[in-house]
């Protein structure tokens, strides 16, 4: 319990760090931040938009500490300012429209890749020197060397345009309205297959390799030899004894890989015009919509921190040593 709380404290600290970074970035720009920022919008924005923008950044006449407090207060209430690209919609509302799609896409891709890679790693280590152990690692390492979004482009071109097996983009067909029906779920799955598939293909190799190496090390240890000598069924030795222990480094790495994979998922979304955060991010970059960019950064950071905490809890369950508070 203490471990879980201490980790939670750390993530809160990290969240505060991200918030503070967000506050100071516009103010670190060379020259006067307000005029540098607003010079870009001269003539494009209505005066009231400028006022809203000024307030978003707290670039008022007040002193820096008081600006900071105002900003923190707004952020805590979920007020991330007004979007420039989607004026006059508030940033929190713009982000809210695509958040579920990104969580769905990146979440299922990460979990699928992790599960598949870990199983393959167990198999490769158990039948060491076998076909899976010799062929898959170099092949997957090669695929992993491509940028995720490039694999997505190739997959889209070959399987979407040439073979017409999959739809070419978006999360569901334009002629459908979202509903909780099997038909709509199937439609969503068909649209998500290529984006998720390309991320899984690009990342599964890393999980497989890390699991394989950990598993090989664990298989050489005494307690596994003892379990084998006792005559336990091989499946029990492989999964309950070896794999459970070999899983620990992978689970620890999972939290950190999350942020990285999410970045790749955002770019993949762009290729498929998937209506998630990646698409919003492009709009934000293109329109120099700083409030939206910073809002996306904050929301994604919070999501990653939350997911990391869940991973910590899983770790707690897997590893009794962490439960006793020594780790």
């Amino acid at each position: 319990m203490r471990y879980a709380l201490r980790r939670l404290g750390f993530y809160l600290l990290a969240a505060w760090f991200a918030l503070t970074l967000n506050f100071f970035l516009p103010r670190l720009m060379p020259g006067d931040p307000a005029s540098a920022l607003f010079a870009r919008f001269k003539g494009q924005l209505a005066p009231e938009a400028m006022v809203a923008l000024r307030q978003t950044f707290g670039l008022t006449g007040a002193s820096l500490p008081s600006q900071y407090l105002t900003y923190l207060g707004h952020a805590l209430r979920g007020d991330l300012g007004i979007s420039v690209a989607y004026f006059p919609a508030p940033v929190s509302q713009v982000i809210g429209t695509g958040l579920a799609w990104t969580v769905f896409l990146a979440g299922s891709a990460v979990v699928l890749a992790f599960a598949l890679g870990t199983l393959l790693g167990v198999a490769a280590a158990w039948w060491r020197g076998g076909l899976a152990d010799r062929v898959l690692p170099p092949l997957l390492a090669f695929l992993g060397a491509f940028p995720y979004f490039w694999l997505a482009m190739v997959a889209l071109y070959l399987l979407g345009f040439q073979l017409r097996w999959f739809p070419l983009g978006h999360a569901y067909g334009d002629d459908l309205t979202p509903s909780w029906t099997p038909a709509f779920a199937l439609e969503v799955a068909r649209h998500a297959a290529l984006p998720i598939g390309s991320i899984v293909v690009a990342t599964v190799g890393g999980w497989m390799l890390s699991m394989r190496n950990a598993m090989v090390a664990v298989l050489g240890s005494d307690f596994v030899t003892l379990a084998r000598a006792k005559g336990l069924p091989p499946r029990q030795v492989a999964l309950r004894y070896a794999a459970r222990n070999a899983l620990l480094p992978s689970v620890t790495g999972f939290g950190m890989a999350l942020g990285f994979v999410l970045g790749g998922a955002l770019l993949t979304e762009i290729v498929f015009a998937y209506p998630g955060q990646g698409y919003l991010l492009v709009q934000a970059v293109r329109n120099q919509d700083y409030p939206l960019m910073q809002g996306i950064f904050l929301v994604i950071t919070l999501a990653v921190l939350g997911a990391n905490w869940v991973v910590d809890l899983v770790n707690l369950w897997l590893d009794p040593r962490a439960r006793e508070g020594s780790a």
Binding site: L13, Y157, G263
Partner: protein, 313 residues
Amino acid sequence: MSASTRPRAEGWRAWVEAIRRDRAAAAGAAILASFVLLALVGPVFVGDPDALVGIPHQPPSAAHWLGTTGQGQDVLAQTVVGTRISLAIGFGVGLAVVLLGAVVGVVSGYAGGRVDAGLSLLVNVFLVLPGLPLAIVVAAYLPSGPATVALVLVLTGWAWNARVVRAQALALRQRDFVAAAVVSGEGAWRIVLQEILPNMTSLLVAQVIGSTVYAIGAQVGLEFLGLGDVSRATWGTNLYWASNDSALLVGAWWTFVPTGLCVAAVGFGLTMLNSGFDELTNPRLGAERAWRAWLLGRGLSPGRSTPVAVDRG
């Protein structure tokens, strides 16, 4: 031939020897060398990458070996010229990231106490912050161009290296030769520079390679979003324009396939090179391989753990 049966060479010789001995590493080095050569002399042969030389979106032909882009530029010229900036940023960021990580990690691991606690906290915070969104937010506030891309990649990439170096520094600090240096009254900086860092050379080299792979991939991603200087040919901006000119919609695969293959080839070459260094710095791998070869030569197959031979008759 394995590492254990040959007299071990010293210094640079050892590295060259390790690369030559390992087939994968040699192939990786060859791939890498050809790309460096391409970056250095290639642009002389292909002409101006920005010149409008033909009809947009033409498939590969004798005149334009890799076809033309959506603006009518030569894809081959763009890819070759793009190699220069992309590799320069890749290697530059790779080096800078490792340097920064090594300084933070060594100071943190050697100093211990409050300094260590503070630096470790900073490292851990940077490790959990999602890199790409952070890079985008920072890059958006800076003038776009290669320098900005390099800067934000260093900012978002150093933490992992710092953590690994710190762990290594902590382990080395416990060793007798460091204690001897402390007792003989050497200064902290001298101990760090002369006793601890040289013992991490292999780790640092591996980190430079790994960080370069990261830097090239992340750079292509940032530029694909349009955060680079879009008027200058690099691998990332090539993909940005391919996507912007709807290459997929018109089926112009030649505008994005060559660039992706280049990125992957460099990444794969670097990874293979790393595996050769692994063998050099981790003699157990070589010994294990020699042992397996010895067993196989006698019709035996090795067991799961290293020293056990299983006779499958």
